[in-house]
Subunit: 474 residues, 2 copies
């Protein structure tokens, strides 16, 4: 087993530690763009100090997936509006020969993808002294500095292995869609625990609410920390005692990280790092799979949602939850919920239900006997067309068997998502609601096949969803 | 409204206060049987003091439904076995010319019905001084004595009205089937509250756990009483401070009494006293009703259960609950449960379900992530034929979508009620299980019609069950 673990880690290192040729290519490109940014700024009559940050600066980048972060350090006195106009223009102009898109987290930035899959992010931030942060990205240069001075040479590849592991189990990334671990957080874990294997050993023993304070900002006063932070994982930023580096980590992803760490240590496998791609079945086979599946899948297909990815995913998650609640309130049993989006033209929310249709009867609980609402309830249902049996008294409460308002989950959604309010009355997020207004489709089971046929990314998503189990679980 | 209330009570009095002719008939019959008991005892060489007890002795009997209780006061030194042999023989012999059946509560007695519907109960008890009770019925003579000396002349008809009210709303009777109010309890309520209307006013304000101590045995120490008694209604026996006269009153019946009292006071109606009989639909119409009803009815029909009525009903209730739990554990939604029995050859347990069939998928929750059972669970379901999707992690727990064991409620019951164990493994009561061993039927909806056709009592029961609401509710 030891042998095989070593072999696996060696394999990961082989794939992820960049060759000297790759170093030359990436560092050269980074420096070129950095200069270009400074020049473009001067062209526009503003002064900017551009700086390579992120994994390239810290030498923790993955050979297989490169992100180059160029930060524009903007003097404190510049107004925020100017960032959106002049400085974002500088950013766009600096990568004009590549395709770029504008993104933002709390803060705008420009992303471009160079031939060969290297991603370049150009991010404006204020050049401030801690703790006078003006925007969320102002801390980044200090993070870079901290890692550069605290991460040992031999730990850099341990970070690479850990990042690859997190990517493999789909918990890497502090974006809203992922809700996982940032690069900085990954590096801090290696600093804290020493190396990849020790990190996994510790993580597999983590509890919910695990609290890490590397620089001992709170002098061991966990109680103090818990008063300030309530997230499931807390790692105090060495560069800012008021910030939880793990704030973006959702409970779900923390749990997956814990479980995967434990299971990897028990039975190491390359699958944790490089999950085998599921080849989606061809449309005819998928249709058969959906038909034979004892559950029903309900797909809500939206067109373009006008929002950058972080906002889009926040809205998708909020909407999924609202629709799940709506279905459950109407007694449909929701087994699972998921969502897919190309972050451009198409998004699909998926609800797996035990069944699509209900019998036209339900038990409706009223007020306790002898309560003040008793008479209203009894009066209302005694004469009601909806009443099937009762009202009667059971376990101290009034109860009545009534006909349902909605028997069919598809019709429920069609009505509640359309009809003037487009879901705003039960929690559908604003931008999604606007997209609903422009039109939507609800597909049941095999009705999704035409879309499945034309969209490979969605097809992969659906195949994985049906399988259900994490790809590293075997 | 006042007028109408007076008229209603006058009507009840008219029907329930016996005429002098009726008095002569009933008191004469009671005295005749009382003497017969004493003579029959002497014939068998034992001495018994026979005494008229109950409502006839207390002059609180209903003209429309007469129960004559004759108690055999047996000397303390007689062994219990002898009661079952000699004294019960005496009882049977005393009413040999009428049809009789043997019954028991905690204690055997003989019941006979005389032409004209007068019921005679011959009950053995020990003649003991309080508090040296040897059997549950030994207190009765003291109860009779207490009522005779404490119930005022003008309160006797108030008792009659209250009894009739309780019968009308089906809460009268301390037997297991009813789980309601005994005659003695009814009389004590009138002593406590003065008259019928004041009783209803108080009852409609009762809380669960209402505690009444007429003779102030506990000096107002409610806390002391609550330590001794936990029933939903507590009325300390004036004749025995260690006994709750209302111990038999089930929460359900207490609630019905509270609600009916409140609603009667709001809107008095003769229906509370004399609920209109529901005429059961003819079998063809009933079949149509069952077909059209959106729910499904599942009937478990048993043959003879070898048990006296109190035991029979205790066993039926226990079995109903066990079967309800079994159905719910298998994810069937049970809307209502009820039961009918002729207390002789046939009993039917009824389960109203939202639907009879389930889709072949369910969400099965496993252990929390990182718990010691984690590996077993994951291992078990990774390779299982039953697994549809997963296992995966959700809200900190392992979850898997699996195929069900039972898709059909009828088949579930057929298997679980037959097959060697006859329900003993999941809580079916012993005598019912024995009856199951001798054979049973499970009918769904219209399949019950042949039995419905041949059994008017069951037909009335089913018609009322479908209606669901209490007959006094309008």
């Amino acid at each position: 087993m030891k042998d095989s673990l070593d072999k696996i880690l060696e394999e990961v290192r082989g794939r992820e530690v960049p060759t000297s040729e790759r170093y030359g290519q990436v560092l050269g490109l980074a420096e070129r763009i950095r200069r270009r940014v400074e020049e473009e700024a001067l062209n526009r009559g503003v002064f900017v100090e551009a700086s390579v940050e992120g994994s390239v600066a810290k030498d923790t980048w993955l050979g297989s997936e490169v992100d180059i972060d160029i930060f524009m350090l903007i003097p404190e006195e510049v107004e925020k509006e100017k960032i959106f106009s002049v400085y974002m223009d500088v950013a766009r102009e600096s990568v004009r020969e590549y395709g770029w898109i504008e993104r933002y987290a709390e803060h705008p930035y420009v992303e471009a993808v160079v031939d060969g899959g290297i991603k370049i992010n150009i991010v404006p931030c204020y050049k401030v002294k801690p703790p006078n942060w003006k925007t969320a990205t102002d801390r980044t240069p200090y993070h870079t500095q901290y890692i550069k001075t605290h991460l040992k040479e031999e730990q850099k590849n341990e970070v690479r292995i850990l990042k690859r592991f997190m990517k493999g189990i789909k918990v890497y990334g502090a974006d809203i869609k992922t809700g996982g671990f940032s690069g900085y957080l990954t590096e801090l874990l290696i600093i804290r625990y020493g190396n990849f294997i020790e990190t996994l050993k510790s993580v597999s023993k983590w509890r919910i609410g695990e609290t890490i304070d590397i620089e001992n900002h709170y002098g061991g006063e966990i109680g103090e920390i818990k008063k300030l932070f309530t997230e499931p994982l807390i790692l105090i930023d060495p560069a800012d005692k008021n910030r939880n580096v793990a704030a973006a980590v959702r409970l779900e992803k923390l749990n997956i990280f814990r479980v995967a760490s434990k299971l990897f240590l028990k039975k190491p496998s390359l699958k944790f790092f490089y999950p085998p791609k599921i080849k989606p079945p061809n449309p005819e086979n998928m249709e058969k799979l959906l038909d034979e599946r004892p559950s029903n899948l309900l797909f809500l297909k939206l067109g373009r949602v006008e929002a950058v990815p972080d906002v889009l995913w926040g809205q998708i998650y909020k909407t999924s939850k609202a629709i799940k609640n709506l279905l459950e309130k109407n007694d449909f049993k929701v087994l699972r919920v998921s969502a897919w989006s190309d972050e451009k033209e198409n998004s699909v929310l998926v609800f797996e239900l035990e069944n699509l249709k209900l019998e036209n009867i339900k038990k409706h609980y009223g007020p306790p006997v002898s309560s003040s609402e008793e008479e209203n309830f009894v009066g209302k249902y005694l004469g009601s067309q909806r009443t099937v049996s009762g009202p009667y008294v059971e376990d101290g409460r009034w109860v009545v068997l009534i006909k349902r308002k909605y028997l069919d989950a598809k019709r429920l959604l069609e009505e509640k998502l359309g009809r003037g309010k487009f879901g705003r009355d039960f929690g559908v997020a604003g931008r999604v609601s606007e997209a609903l207004r422009r039109g939507f489709n609800i597909f049941v089971d095999g009705e999704i096949i035409p879309f499945y046929r034309e969209n490979v990314s969605f097809a992969s998503f659906l195949a994985e969803f049906l399988r259900g189990k994490p790809s590293w679980l075997e």
